[in-house]
């Protein structure tokens, strides 16, 4: 690798170190240790950050890379950490699909440029067999705020765009002890960026492509005096690859952080999402008139105080949405609450985390055509939780935690977990964890006739176990895990209107193994392969038996700029549209191509990055969902400009 590319990697690594140290401080509330961090998805000689060109570091910066588990607040959890830049460069159409490309035990079906909502919606995340459609068993947490729709209990997959994402942490096996309801199969923790040094940067990303797709993103970061500012707007419109597959996506985000003192900060965030599209319907019977219109607005505050070995934090939040559908359906929902946490390091071997949380979920539903207004009741819960991380001997962490949750609809719920992590030597880590998780029924499942409801539903519970090992060295990244998920009282819909029912089902056990291999910086190339196999038992609907993702990246500094590209692909096997292995559908296999050239002018402080994304490179006919074929060969041409 030429010196320039090495410098580029060094520049890219700088914020990693900063972030990792912040994570350590966040997790331990005390003096940070050396930063053991790795990124899933390989560490290719990818182009450096698309922000403002940073003056070249005098020397490449070395970082110690020990394992991929460090960025989690629970050292024993099995996680994947994905850089925001990797998501921004991904050829996959959505952020969730880009995340699934990096971790084979995460499955996200698609149907085209947009996932949509309601009937025909895709984008439900499954992690190790739990989750799916609707995706209420995997919790998305954005900047400390649980993000889901109040009535239906799932995140909106089209509401996440990576322009400000610093990184995404996927906690496999869930963690209801730390995150509460819905963190049953997994947690997707999204952390957005701040600028680390004084100054400002502006990035514009414009792209046009197949199906009359136009995409524009403008984002900016600034650090001025005691203020940190971050904001951006993303707009995308497309006709889609068939009637009804198009739509509009408008997402605006703004955040401000004020540092009263070096120890005390107040952060305000606001995000607005507008989605407009349709359910194209099965390809044989299109329904382009089945439109939807979604507005969502999320606001939060975060007060942080750090001093020595102690950190205190408080985060009130409110998430409000209005969803309207073609058939007259309209819902106004809200999820509001607050989290207060304290983290303290006692001595050199014990980290304590204690917290309390309150959440209220509610809303109203009506039909603008028929005037019907089903009666719904909101749900409130309060909880107290704690986690202890003990390091009795060097390189060994023991983690235990518990949460007592009091729900207005389900009474007291006890959640707990325990795990261990052992790093016998640098570069190798072994981990295991057991976690008791739960999900409360959604308002829809309890009260709304879509197609039926059952107010007597019990909360879903699961006991998730995993054990695995990971090795990371300069050119090699290996990891593997075995997992077992035992779930009771899963909520399932059976039949169709007027004989449909929604009930708790008995007992489900899912076994699986997951692994990944990364060959990094072998000359100009890197290769990353991740695979997953699982036995999901009877509930096979959109719960694939096997999945494999690969990414081959090649890049080098040409002296005048960085030229890089990647070929990535996904294979999904054992897909069914029904439970009990009914309605099998063909295996999914598709490949994408990404090419980009990055030129930076340090004198002008600008960067130019033209890129080309080619999706479905082999023009294969495939579908994740029966009747919803994915687009054929299509392309997007774009230009990023950084100032």
């Amino acid at each position: 690798m030429r010196l320039g590319a090495l410098l580029a990697v060094g520049v890219m690594c700088t914020p990693l170190v900063a972030r990792a140290q912040e994570d350590v401080a966040s997790a331990a509330g005390a003096a940070p240790e050396p930063a053991p961090v790795a990124t899933s998805g390989g560490s290719a000689p990818a182009p450096p950050s698309s922000g403002t060109p940073t003056p070249p570091a005098p020397e490449p910066i070395e970082i110690a890379v020990v394992g991929r588990h460090r960025a989690s607040r629970d050292r024993s959890a099995d996680t994947s950490l994905i850089e925001g830049q990797r998501l921004r460069d991904s050829p996959r159409p959505s952020t969730f699909e880009a995340i699934a490309q990096q971790s084979a035990d995460v499955y996200v079906p698609g149907r085209g440029a947009l996932h949509g909502v309601a009937g025909g919606g895709t984008g439900g995340i499954r992690v190790r067999g739990l989750g799916g459609s609707p995706n209420s068993q995997v919790l998305v947490v954005e900047d400390g705020v649980p993000d889901y729709q109040g009535i239906f209990g799932h995140p909106i997959p089209d509401a996440y765009v990576p322009f400000l994402i610093d990184d995404v942490l996927v906690v496999k096996g869930g963690d209801s002890t730390l995150y509460g309801t819905n963190a049953m199969g997994g947690v997707v923790v999204i952390r957005n960026r701040w600028r680390e040094e004084d100054g400002q940067e502006l990035m514009s990303d414009s792209a046009v492509g197949s199906y009359a797709t136009v995409r524009e993103t403008v984002s900016g970061l600034a650090r001025v005096g005691a203020w940190d500012l971050a904001g951006g707007v993303h707009a995308m419109r497309t006709d889609g690859h068939r009637d009804g597959a198009g739509g509009d996506q408008l997402i605006g985000s703004a955040a401000a952080r004020y540092r009263f003192t070096p120890h005390l900060t107040l952060t305000a965030r606001h995000k607005v999402v507008h989605l407009d599209g349709a359910d194209p319907g099965p390809v044989t019977h299109p329904t382009p008139e089945h439109w939807y219109d979604v507005w969502r607005d999320t606001a939060s505050l975060r007060l942080d105080w750090r001093r020595g070995r102690l950190r205190l934090g408080m985060t009130p939040y409110l998430n409000v949405g209005v969803h309207e559908l073609f058939d007259g359906f309209r819902s106004v929902d809200h999820v509001g609450g607050g989290v207060a946490e304290a983290e303290v390091r006692a001595g050199s071997i014990t980290d304590f985390l204690i917290g309390t949380a309150w959440q209220e979920v509610g809303g109203r539903v009506d039909n603008r055509i028929t005037g019907e207004r089903p009666s719904v009741s909101g749900m409130t819960d309060v909880s107290a939780y704690g986690q202890v991380d003990v390091r009795p001997v060097e390189r060994v962490s023991l983690v235990v935690g518990a949460r007592e949750l009091l729900s207005s609809s389900h009474g007291a719920v006890l959640l707990y977990k325990g795990g261990a992590r052992w790093s016998p030597f640098d570069g190798l880590a072994l981990h295991t964890r057991v976690s008791r998780n739960f999900r409360q029924p959604t308002i829809r499942e309890l009260y709304l006739p879509y197609p039926t409801a059952n107010p007597d539903l019990r909360a879903e519970r699961s006991l998730n176990w995993d054990a695995g090992a990971g090795h990371v060295s300069e050119h090699l990244e290996l990891s593997g895990s075995g997992y077992r998920t035992e779930a009771t009282d899963l909520i399932r819909y059976f039949g169709s209107w007027p004989t449909a029912e929604v009930v708790n089902v008995d007992h489900v056990v899912i076994w699986g193994v997951e692994g990944s291999v990364g060959l990094k910086r072998l000359g100009p190339a890197s290769l990353f392969v991740t695979g997953n196999w699982q036995d999901v038992g009877r509930y096979t609907r959109q719960n694939p038996e096997a999945k494999l993702d690969f990414t081959l990246e090649v890049g080098d500094d040409l002296g005048v700029g960085f030229l890089g590209g990647s070929v990535s692909g996904e294979w999904v096997h054992g897909l069914y549209m029904g439970d009990y292995s009914r309605q099998p559908i063909d295996d999914v296999f598709a490949m994408d191509l990404s090419l980009r050239y990055r030129h930076e002018s340090l004198e002008r402080g600008t960067s130019l990055e033209p890129y080309l994304l080619v999706r479905n490179l082999l023009d294969r006919r495939y579908a994740y969902v029966e009747g919803y074929p994915m687009p054929g060969l299509n392309a997007l041409i774009g230009l990023r400009i950084g100032v």
Partner: protein, 150 residues
Amino acid sequence: MRPVGLVPCLAMAGCDLAYPEVVVTNQTAETVELRRVSFNGCAWEGVLAFGDSTSPGRCLPGEDRVHLQRLDTAAYCRDQVEDGTIEDLCPCEGNFGGAGPLEGLTNAEPRWFNYQTVSTWTVRYGECYHFEIALSELEQDFSTPGPYGH
């Protein structure tokens, strides 16, 4: 990037313009109307009278049957005259007259039934197809795809 490099890129970006174009013509019978005509991702609005054609639609490459809803206006007319729901003489053959509408037992709403072509057609990139729908080519369509999602 040199301008010559843009050509293949733009060509790829517009590759959906090479999707097969499909036109469907109602050649069933003078008294049969078609609506909700669809083929492999294309959906056409409006009602096709005998001899009418859809506008050209860019459909996905691949194979499918033409799906549609059909109304036999002559049969509808006869039924309404039998039930006496139409006051004036019906211009249909065979005016049976009627005893007047039987409350609750008659339905003046025309009923459209789901049909599909017996044959499956394959369409490919860059080509234009013209499908003429004949009565002998139709069979009832009992496939009722359920919605995916929630």
